[in-house]
């Protein structure tokens, strides 16, 4: 890794335009330019039209999805989640972790500190793994905001349906793995 290349902005930036958004602006511009050069102006216009048309269809969905997310957050505050999951184990713990994970909104910066807190407050490792798996495959917030509008209802519902058993499976596998690793110091 290079240590002394050019300095980025000192702060992670305001929420409206952060590093990854800027990167994506550049990617969109580059891809647009490439389409214009490789496929010609007609293809460029049709792609632009597709994107804008989809945007108009999607905006109401995004507004509703964000509101749903805000209601879910108000429903299940973080302290309640820690209380539910701390110290629980067994199938009941895995199922609760699955429910809690799918309701946890926000990106990795929200989920991992919560898992760490759970672990420290005595939650079993399989419960932590179930929680993280559920947050990543069943996370309602991300499914509603990104997946439903972009990939459609049929795809999203199918994926959520086949993903339902995954967090519990991951928890059970963790439990089995830990049986094998028991010789090692914790």
């Amino acid at each position: 890794m290079a240590h002394d290349s050019e300095h980025e902005k000192p702060r992670p930036g305001p929420p409206l335009l952060d590093g990854s958004t800027l990167f994506f602006v550049l990617l969109a511009l580059a891809a647009g330019l490439a389409v214009l050069i490789v496929r010609g102006p007609e293809a460029f216009q049709s792609a632009l039209g597709d994107g804008l048309g989809l945007l108009i269809l999607i905006l109401p969905i995004v507004v509703a999805a964000v509101l749903v997310g805000a209601y879910v957050q108000a429903m299940v505050p973080r302290e309640a989640m820690e209380r539910w999951l701390g110290g629980r184990s067994g199938l009941r713990g895995l199922l609760l972790a699955t429910a809690a994970g799918s309701l946890t909104p926000g990106g990795p910066f929200a989920a991992f500190p919560l898992v760490l807190a759970l672990y420290r407050s005595g939650a079993a490792i399989p419960v932590c793994v179930s929680y993280l798996t559920s947050w990543s495959v069943l996370g309602i917030n991300r499914a509603l905001v990104w997946e439903l509008p972009l990939l459609g209802a049929e795809f999203t519902l199918t994926r959520l349906l086949v993903s339902l058993p995954l967090p519990v499976i991951a928890g059970l596998l963790t439990w089995a793995l830990m049986g094998r690793l028991r010789e090692r110091p914790a």
Partner: protein, 165 residues
């Protein structure tokens, strides 16, 4: 698209109705919180959509359809697992690319696998967030236990499609 509107509308109404019987926080406060979360999305989603529709024009269709199409079966599911695991970035990058890949002929089971692999394995997220927060032991156990989940999701999708006929 209509089913997406309906799903969300019903969900939102149910939540609002359920919330109506509770005290704090009220609808207004919840709406304010929602608006705060929505502002960055109003910038990100249009950009992501544009990038996605441009990328869709550039992706080599025959290659994608051959590697990840409905007919690619188990092999496509395994390729999708690897692709999903190494796909960097958050939803803003992944979903437009997924949209482009579907447009280029990726099958349903293969796409479910790819999204699942990206969700549970996400090597960029492991390095950036998980290892620093949880350490090697917890992260290692989780990754081992989660290795089979993405192909499993793909196989379940195939079975589901089989059931539907």
């Amino acid at each position: 698209m209509i089913s997406a509107y309906l799903t969300l509308g019903i969900l939102l109404l149910a939540l609002m109705g359920w919330r109506h019987r509770q005290a704090e926080p009220g609808h207004r406060e919840i709406a304010v919180r929602g608006w705060r979360q929505m502002r960055p999305l109003l910038v990100r989603i249009p950009i992501a959509l544009l990038a996605g529709s441009f990328l869709a024009m550039l992706i080599p269709r025959e290659l994608v359809a051959g590697l990840l199409g409905e007919a690619s079966g188990m092999q496509g599911i395994l390729i999708a697992t690897v692709l999903g695991a190494i796909m960097p970035g958050g939803p803003m990058i992944t979903f437009p690319i997924a949209l482009a890949l579907i447009g280029a002929g990726t099958g349903m089971a293969q796409m479910v696998t790819l999204i699942t692999a990206w969700s549970v394995l996400a090597l960029h997220r492991v390095i950036a967030f998980e290892l620093p927060a949880l350490g090697w032991r917890l992260t290692g156990i989780r990754l081992l236990a989660c290795l089979i989940l993405a192909p499993l999701a793909g196989i379940l999708t195939l079975l589901l499609a089989g059931l539907r006929g």
